[in-house]
Symmetry: C2
Subunit: 407 residues, 2 copies
């Protein structure tokens, strides 16, 4: 959060350090930071507990003594009162203030922030709880930056790609590096997703870079954003496409065990187009919840294109949605066989004019297989909703009946 | 992972830094680290992409030149061949080796690690992908530590607490601080869970500290571990209790949307005692999947103890499990009212001799409310399975019929 805010004002982070809860070490790291940079942003260590040492470390560094500020103390007591609680005695320490510093009143918690100057640098001490830090970044650091570094020159775009391995993305991006160099391009991979961030200090440059990325990677790019903020997640992209179509989705999950539902419902307002679904982890529940024929399970196995398709067909039929996506696979570490090794995952998708199933083999451990499976499943829905051709370039595909239109 | 491995050998991390993908900056940070410590562990920047600069930064620091090692190159090509793929040309750069260094062959990926000595310090360069780094930590760093720092003196215990706020935990731990001091106690909070780590450099000490924590926090402690490893998660604890009882659990999730199922199924082998469940996000699905009476929904609302109980009753009845837990709530940001504000979440639990429902009001945003709800739900199951009295000290409780035994 801090880095991305600073980047918007063209400020580069030259030193980042993580330090334990020892006063003297924290003081030395802060001192070092004041030599490296004109602005030092610190998070954490402002809470009420014994291992919250940032206040006293700042006092040690500046050679001053903390003193309780009655105004701050009553502010904290009020924060508790508003929630109908009394302030625990331990929290009084949060009202101890560095002489000559400015207290930054935290609207989202009880730990006040601090701003002070030392050794030619300006220090912002912020709480460690992410949403409290976020509040003070917006309320205090952003206006401070706005005054000093009017935004003009730095431009940034980001794009996200689903279901392509990082090394394949890199190979494709070669022409981008040749034209713009590597300095302004960052490629960040997580299971089943690659985020590409392009950056230019001359206005206009990054838009051109982003367009080139789109050209090179084609419809594997599912999300993009300019300076305005972060690019939408895959789950948010799917929900936007469902909203555009005015249609609803349900899910039938076996090996992902609710991961896809959890991702979709993490998006505020998802209830408008995601109705819910089945976590049909056992064979019995595949039959009871989705009406999968026991004969299909015994003939083809729980992890098969046939079962995946029957799960999706069952979800559409029983849950009354236009779309249903299903996942059944072997996430490991146990349960694999030579015919269906760990990492084998089958997917079904049923929509207004499609009924298809794919079977893939993902690398990695249980967590990685499940994450990749959730990505593939959501991307399957996105591609169908966007009228894209079936995916041809995923290196993990084993079998597919991707053509199976029902119209 | 690195810190926790080092800690087991009594080694303290004195300096941690994060640095961008610029060769000269990385080289300066490595140089600085070599002055601060005798062992420097570096992760990341060994991949095939343009922003992977750790190899060349190490060459810059040591004043030497990287050279392709044919043995390493063919090892990487073999890694790809075993997966049935060709090596992308970009990966050849991973075979460039620092003169005088030892290559650490990575069994889990294509980026080799490196070990070398410089400026009196030993450097381990490891890949950034966590499971690849983990592999080399076990395979290379651990034996190296074992040789030099036989484990004797450091002892550590950790304990986990569910559904108590951090400040309440701190208040209760006051006698621990008074007796043992604050230096060896770390308290780490995340939504709905607090982890307490106690550490002693004299054998025996931390066991005594852990026993005192148990005394002070009582049955809110759900998990503990000695030196042997990490303490089990709440989901693993629930599955262990189900296994001990020889009973099965299903779930019925509304506002958590699959989060609880996802957590349970993240544990290998969970299928033995977690059967699956319903993501009944819409009212229609609460009725279709769980048989919740539409009259209950319209009379009490979807977020009510009555609906929560009906969801759990429906899950036990339809899915054939001994236990069922349900969640229905308002995660926000929209959907709140003055009577049922954002953060209101109701829970149902049905077991062999219990049928109960609770309604709580959690602070925080959508993500935080959902995480706390998943914690409360899992802890409800744990407590009932362990025969503990209904929870009395959660500050977020609104109403409960916690006594409702069905025997």
């Amino acid at each position: 959060m801090v880095t991305s805010l600073l980047r918007r004002y063209g400020l580069e982070v030259v030193f980042k350090a993580v330090v334990g809860d020892q006063e003297d070490r924290i003081a030395r790291v802060l001192q070092q930071a004041s030599l490296e940079a004109a602005l030092v942003v610190v998070t954490g260590g402002l809470g009420p507990t014994k291992d919250d040492r940032t206040r006293s470390a700042a006092a040690l560094m500046t050679g001053s003594k903390l003193a309780t500020d009655p105004k701050v103390l009553s502010w904290i007591e009020e924060m508790y009162a508003r929630r109908g609680a009394r302030m625990p005695t331990t929290n009084a320490v949060q009202a101890e203030v560095l002489p000559g510093s400015e207290v930054l009143f935290n609207q989202r918690g009880t730990a006040p922030g601090v701003r002070f100057g030392y050794n030619g640098a300006t220090f912002f001490l912020l709480p460690g709880v992410p949403r409290e830090a976020e509040g003070l970044l917006q309320q205090e650091l952003q206006p401070w930056l706005e005054d000093r570094f009017p935004r003009t020159r730095v431009q940034e775009h980001e794009l996200r790609v689903a279901c392509l391995p990082e090394s394949l993305v890199e190979e494709r991006l070669e022409p981008l590096y040749q034209r713009f160099g590597a300095e302004g391009v960052a490629v960040l991979a997580k299971p089943g997703e690659v985020l590409i961030r392009v950056r230019s200090v001359d206005a206009g440059g990054s838009a051109e870079m982003a367009a080139m990325v789109e050209n090179l990677l084609g419809d594997a790019v599912f999300s993009r954003a300019g300076e305005s903020g972060a690019s939408p997640t895959l789950e948010a992209t799917v929900l936007t496409a469902l909203a555009a179509a005015g249609e609803g989705l349900t899910t039938a999950e076996s090996c992902t065990g609710g991961l896809i539902g959890q991702r979709l419902t993490s998006v505020p307002g998802s209830s408008a187009h995601y109705l819910g679904g089945a976590i049909s982890y056992s064979n019995e529940l595949k039959t009871a919840m989705l009406g999968v024929d026991p004969a299909v399970l015994s003939q083809y196995g729980a992890v098969s294109r046939e079962t995946a398709e029957a799960m999706a067909v069952g979800a559409v039929g029983r849950f009354g949605s236009e779309w249903a996506a299903s996942v059944t696979g072997i996430a490991g570490p146990g349960g694999g066989s030579s015919e269906k090794p760990v990492g084998t995952v089958c997917f079904g998708l049923v929509g207004p004019s499609v009924c298809r199933s794919d079977c893939l083999l993902f690398p990695g451990d249980r967590e990685r297989v499940r994450l990749q499976a959730s990505q593939y499943c959501l991307d399957l829905v996105r591609r169908e909703l966007s009228g894209l051709a079936p995916r041809s370039e995923t290196p993990w595909m084993v079998t597919s009946n991707a053509g199976g239109r029902t119209e």
